[in-house]
Symmetry: C2
Subunit: 301 residues, 2 copies
């Protein structure tokens, strides 16, 4: 399963970065190969100052070794070894009318001190963070998510959509980071779903990513905008930073397993603003977005 999923994310990284370069039309991804001293490494690909993407990364990594003490506590084990691999992407567009997107598909194995496999699971998801809300875009994104889920179980979309809403939540702001999508974790071998069945599900979601996101980029990337919309985007990006640094378990995992800092923090937006006690104008498009982030919506009725 390790080899199979690693091969999958390598190929998916190639597909995604080449499609994103096509739609950007100006910037190319820069590639950094890196090694983790304790075992493993990764292939980081970053795009900056594009015509569509102001900053973004599409990274894969495979790391393994002794499970750091802080993570042992987290998983409730002692003296464990681990293997983790995944693809993680974040795209911050130039145009405030194009949403930021995040996706991650990962696979984890846990071994005892003799190297015997004791646990294995998949995790991941994909979610959208608009600065201005086009309901049809939110519906499109969720429909593609649902289609991928429905191939495997009619329960998955509603279950993983709910998990996404509750995970990507800035509790200290009492608002969602974005308009959601899918989030799942600890997808383990059970009577009804083997680890191979979860592989099929997770790769189905991975394969749906471009279909979920690219049409939205295509539709919104040339809408003209002013400094006011750019400021709003940069203020909202502040919330993105707050989520990733205060709440995100993926970032925490990376920092605690001595991951490559620049690859972990490539998720942070290029230009960000924080103003004191900022509130958008009543009845503005900006306020409409904030209201929706305060109570998650069922985009597919």
């Amino acid at each position: 399963m390790k080899e199979k999923f690693v091969a999958y994310i390598r190929a998916l990284q190639n597909t995604i970065t080449s499609e994103l370069e096509k739609i950007d039309g100006k910037a190319l991804f820069r590639e950094d190969l890196w090694d983790r001293p304790e075992g493993g490494g990764g292939r980081t690909r970053v795009i900056e100052n594009g015509s569509v993407f102001e900053k973004g990364g599409v990274n894969i990594s495979e790391v393994h070794g002794i499970l750091p003490e802080s993570m042992q506590q987290y998983f409730g084990v002692t003296d464990a070894n681990f293997f983790a691999c995944g693809l993680s992407l974040v795209l911050h567009p130039v145009n405030p009318y194009v949403p930021t997107v995040h996706a991650n598909w990962r696979y984890f194995e846990l071994y005892d001190s003799n190297g015997t496999l004791v646990d294995q699971w998949f995790g991941g998801g994909q979610d959208l963070t608009p600065y201005y809300l086009f309901e049809e875009d939110a519906i499109h994104f969720h429909k593609v998510c649902k289609k991928a889920c429905d191939v495997h179980s009619s329960d998955f979309y509603s279950e993983f959509k709910k998990k996404c809403d509750s995970y990507f939540y800035n509790a200290h702001r009492e608002e969602a980071r974005g308009i959601g999508g899918l989030f799942f974790d600890y997808l383990k071998n059970t009577e009804s779903f083997s680890i191979e069945a979860w592989y099929d599900f997770v790769t189905e979601v991975g394969d749906s990513f471009l279909e979920a996101y690219l049409p939205i980029v295509q539709k919104r990337k040339n809408i003209s905008f002013q400094k006011a919309q750019k400021n709003w985007q940069e203020i909202r990006r502040g919330r993105y930073v707050e989520f990733n640094l205060v709440h995100d378990k993926g970032t925490l995992f990376g920092l605690k397993t001595n991951g490559r800092i620049e690859s972990i923090l490539m998720s942070l937006p290029p230009h960000v603003q924080w103003h004191y006690d900022y509130h958008p104008e009543i009845n503005s498009e900006e306020e409409k977005l904030v209201k929706i982030l305060r109570s998650p919506i069922d985009w597919i009725k």
Copy 2:
């Protein structure tokens, strides 16, 4: 002691904000009074878009009530009540040659469920975060810190300077947030120092703040700068955000005790940048700063 220290920080907030307004010459502090639903409240004063200060806050708060569960664990107590008050300030100047400064002086009381005082302590400090290093400024700041410490004990400066270096440290970047100053916590009643003696010490430090910072502002605020220096300042501010959101216990305490979010996060800089894997030019002034942040210096030999 509660009343005495609250009176002190109220007066100090007035002194500091009025001196800062004088040196800014353009912007005035905006005041927000707020109540904490569970008990207490605060007086937040924020300055934005000044000629000297791009954003800054000088806040006081007094909060009390049942100690939240997450903080009970932290302090190793159960069923406790608490009282906390303090002044907290952060100033982000416009000019990249003027350092950012942070200071905090606070007092804490812990009670059992019958309301009997079981513990009390002072904490706080002040520290400087330059974007360009003027050694004479660092020496000046530390000399004023040392002078305030020396009145109370010849050991304090070196002890609290070391604590500051180790506390304001971005472990994930392997670099200090700034060039330090003083940091102290859990200053409790002992045979050699009564809580009153600690009050005298903490207020001595509080009283030294303007002397430590204002001469530096005065000297550097009119140095001309270009877009390149401003970009560097905004990139370094990213490290400031990382420290405050990932490592800072004060921010964590605020978020966990349902503090006023806008007052807690007023510490975040107004405009911030994150670039992928950014490194300053070899032998530049920017690189000189980074090298110094990687190994703390004894500014007073």
